[in-house]
Symmetry: C2
Subunit: 205 residues, 2 copies
DNA sequence: ACCTGAACACCGTTCAAGT
DNA sequence: ACCTGAACACCGTTCAAGT
């Protein structure tokens, strides 16, 4: 077993550069916005030449797809944690899942926008669709648990999951643009709770 | 009274160029996406030099804000039509308002994305905020009408309007990315109806 | 295998100069 | 008042050349 630390910062064999480029892109996205995200800036931040990214991404669109995919995976991971934490209380799980989604949007506005933008080319990356599908499946699982517990009505769980996803996504978009701010100008979580409760009541039949 | 038609296509005095630039930008947005929208391309399509747009927009961000504002105004106009058509049936009005919002997103995906993107600089254009506010007020008015008719529960109409807006916006984003497609791959309006109904039931108390 | 540097056509923005 | 053309620093993408 050798210690590879000595070359980690300058060498990127075995796909290490791919992750470094996505991380660099995420940094730029969080500091600026998608217009400030250039392939050349990403390359510079990863300490490679401006042509190096083309070894790992066909073009800029595919780097953006990689960043979006990372977003779906991070979202799914957080949602899994919520599901684990509130597994015994499906009603709370539904509300907290919504809040988690919205919090992700407020923390990473440009990334969430990117995840639903027209810049990705969904058809060209099966792993992107897979990551988004995994995220949706977690919502479906949550709904199924709630149905079993008698908290929400019976019926197609995917239908109810779509309603929940749409509400959470809509609230996230409104929140990140400041449309859910309170008197102090800060995001007012209570406004999300009210909307999520409205939907929840409707899902109880 | 003179006939100015003869110079309309080549001259843009009195703000005519501003509208022409927004229209050209909209065309490009609908044909490509926000990455393909360059100021130089917009200027060329409006038959002016690449520096001419700076007479009407401080920079690219302000042109984007103008295009987004036009979107809010178009949305508000369509929503007013829905309200007029279903004024005597608040329950239908609520559902049709949602469908209209989603249809706008499916028809103008890049524009709707732009309207909620981080590229606009909301603080720098009061007319943009005004246009968005008008749109929201129409939803509030619809909720108030429904409350008067006893179709939805009493309480802060803005709270219920936010829930409806979030649901409609979330569904629009899901629809334009293909997450609400049926077996044939086309947008399945029924899936939106189901989600909108879920929320509506919850708003009935 | 993976990376580089030069090259090309394109950007956003500014500004002196024209009408 | 409004528009233009040249100029600058920056893009995305390609490709011959290097290790």
């Amino acid at each position: 077993m050798q210690e590879p630390d000595s070359q980690i910062s300058t060498s990127y064999h075995h796909g290490g550069l791919r992750d470094a480029l996505i991380a660099a892109g995420l940094d730029i996205l969080n500091e600026e916005n998608v217009m400030g995200l250039s392939l050349r800036k990403v390359a510079k931040r990863a300490n490679v030449s401006h042509a190096a990214p083309y070894r790992h991404f066909k073009d800029k669109q595919h780097l953006l797809a990689g960043i979006a995919e990372e977003g779906f995976r991070a979202l799914a991971q957080g949602m899994t944690a919520v599901l684990d934490a509130y597994g015994d209380n499906p009603r709370q799980a539904i509300l907290q899942m919504g809040h988690h989604y919205i919090a992700f949007g407020v923390a990473h506005p440009a990334q969430l926008s990117l995840m639903f933008s027209d810049l990705l080319g969904w058809g060209e990356s099966e792993s992107l669709g897979e990551a988004a599908g995994e995220t949706f499946e977690l919502v479906v699982r949550m709904i199924t648990l709630a149905q079993t517990a008698g908290v929400v009505k019976q019926g197609d769980p995917e239908q109810l999951a779509r309603a929940h996803w749409a509400m959470a996504h809509g609230l996230a978009m409104l929140a990140k643009e400041g449309f859910l701010s309170g008197e102090d100008g800060e995001y007012d979580q209570q406004k999300s709770t009210q909307a999520l409760e409205n939907l929840l009541v409707g899902m109880e039949e």
